[in-house]
């Protein structure tokens, strides 16, 4: 092996070096504000490495991980989310006086696991990557040690996460028993509809279902999202989904595409359940974080529609949607962080009342995110849903698209209800803001992308199509 062989995982190595550097800066330097900036420089360097790799011909790392257009797409999504995650946590960490070095280092280590999920072309890489980011997130979920609900979130997440990892590993074992292969290419060659193989594929679906929070494997989501510190919730609600779906698509549409008939009905059923239950449960929430948790379940359902379509447009739509979803959901959570009162770790809907009168800019940003999450035309969320449902129609799953449209019409009620509170209700108590320049910058970036992708969806769709071609050939 030479240095050249390591190039396909260069971004991950940069991130690892950054995480180590952050820990060392934290131990030897007094000023904690440096940590975020060191982390951010590392993320930018990893982004540059990803861009450089994207210009090179596709390469793979010892048949374990691949560096191609698909990997590059998800690497960029996850790196952008990680950068914004670092920025969004900065003020929160200062206010809470928590261990900032550990937070930033864990976030970066989680990012390594997530980008590796997208790159993995071997079952063991996939599993190690899954565990790497999950373990980091278990710790991050319990980061606010003074608040009991944060610890509760961490414990629930750990127990259910470990359980789902075990099922996932069992799935890998059964697939290995049926095919005798662990590389994706080897599995694709030997894939057959034997009972052993199908049982393994079923367990893999369950494992992925836990990670992306698909109904009926979603029970942990509301409690964990509500209890975890808000910057962590923001990060894991988008980054975990992007990473898990990245591996989900590569493994199912790419590797098991030949046996499509076996798993498409299962995914279609999951999609229906996830959309309907997620949206209906979100209707009756008073806590903004809990509402966004159910909404994130519903959005996993929309993405599953594209996955069930399992065609060119469907896969590209999944990639496009995950990019769009990252910005709009991170943005919505940035507003929650801004409104959060010290030590409460949550924001109720009534706390949003009259925000437009006291903080018109923040209210406008929230309006953009809510409209985009609903799927109202000029914003990015509309095109995301359009492409997903279009793909379902093309794949003769029109009924699935119809259910998707109906349930996203239901979702308009709870998203717009937030705006009703902001614009039409009188403030109970004037909201006090934890509003700082860095958080403002993160929100601004999210707004720019939600509007920008909405205005120029073609460029981003082409990027997604480029990534998709790797998967479907």
């Amino acid at each position: 092996m030479t240095l050249q062989d390591f190039m396909p995982i260069l971004p991950e190595m940069v991130l690892l070096a950054t995480a180590v550097a952050v820990l060392m800066v934290d131990t030897f330097l007094g000023d904690k504000r440096w940590l975020t900036w060191v982390g951010l420089v590392g993320v930018l360097l990893a982004g540059a490495a990803t861009y450089w790799l994207a210009l090179q011909p596709p390469a793979d790392f010892q048949d374990m991980a691949a560096s191609d257009a698909y990997t590059a797409f998800f690497r960029l999504v996850i790196l952008v989310v990680t950068g914004l995650g670092l920025l969004m946590a900065m003020n929160w960490l200062e206010a809470h006086g928590e261990q900032q070095g550990e937070y930033n280092a864990l976030l970066l280590l989680a990012a390594i696991g997530m980008t590796l999920m997208a790159a993995a072309t071997h079952m063991l890489t996939l599993f190690v990557a899954l565990e790497l980011f999950s373990l980091c997130l278990y710790i991050l979920a319990g980061f606010e040690r003074e608040r009991a609900s944060s610890g509760e979130a961490a414990l629930k997440y750990l127990l259910l996460g470990a359980f789902s990892s075990a099922l996932f590993l069992y799935g890998i074992a059964l697939v290995y028993a049926a095919t005798g292969a662990l590389t994706f290419a080897g599995i694709a060659q030997k894939a057959s509809l034997s009972p052993l193989f199908l049982a393994g594929v079923g367990l893999l679906i369950v494992g992925f279902g836990f990670k992306v929070a698909a109904v009926p494997f979603h029970m942990w989501t509301p409690d964990v999202y509500q209890g975890a510190p808000t910057p962590v919730t923001a990060y894991m609600s988008v980054a975990t989904k992007a990473a898990a779906f990245a591996a989900f698509v590569r493994l199912f549409v790419g590797t098991l595409g030949v046996e499509k008939s076996a798993w498409v009905p299962a995914l279609a059923a999951l999609a229906v359940l996830t959309m309907v239950v997620g949206n209906l449960a979100a209707l009756s929430q008073h806590s903004l974080k809990r509402m966004l948790a159910y909404s994130s379940i519903a959005h996993a359902g929309y993405v599953l529609v594209g996955l069930a379509a399992a065609n060119t447009t469907g896969t590209a739509a999944v990639l496009f949607y995950l990019l769009v979803y990252a910005f709009m959901n991170l943005g919505a959570f940035a507003v929650v962080i801004a409104l959060e009162r010290q030590g409460e770790g949550d924001v109720t809907l009534s706390q949003m009342r009259g925000l437009a009168r006291t903080h018109p800019l923040l209210a406008a940003a929230m309006a953009i995110f809510m409209f985009s999450l609903t799927g109202v035309p000029p914003f990015a969320g509309f095109f995301g849903k359009l492409y997903l449902f279009q793909a379902a129609v093309q794949a003769n799953l029109t009924w699935l698209a119809v259910i998707g449209v109906i349930s996203s019409a239901v979702s308009a009620y709870y998203y717009l209800n937030v705006l009703v509170q902001i614009y039409m209700a009188d403030p109970e108590t004037p909201p006090t803001l934890a509003w700082r320049p860095v958080l403002g910058l993160a929100t601004l970036v999210a707004v720019v992308f939600v509007v920008g992708i909405g205005l120029f969806p073609d460029f981003w769709l082409q990027l997604a199509l480029g990534g998709m071609r790797v998967i479907l050939g």
Partner: protein
Amino acid sequence: MPYGYVWLLIMLGLAAGVAMMMMFLPLLLGPRNPVPTKYEPYESGMKPFMLPRRRFPVHYYLVAILFVVFDIEILFLYPWAVILRDLRWFGLVEMGVFLGIVLVGFVYAWRKGALEWIR
């Protein structure tokens, strides 16, 4: 059903049979001579002087975790040392990187005071 798995079933049956045999044969054949010491948890160990369920310093846990990390590190060094000649420079650099990362962890634990017993 691939019938090669039959052998697996036979092996499971044999294993269970042997284990059962080992448990029940002594009951039939062995001499029985009960003395009080035989009923203690550890027949020739220390006498238990208190119940194990009590509070103990959480530091034990930290030390145990650190021990596991560095124990594993040494475990990796053994097979590496055996084939170092074949791995050449690559092996040396690779292990250097690995040890470097573990060393950072050690420095971190040290500076954060994880090794101090009384704080």
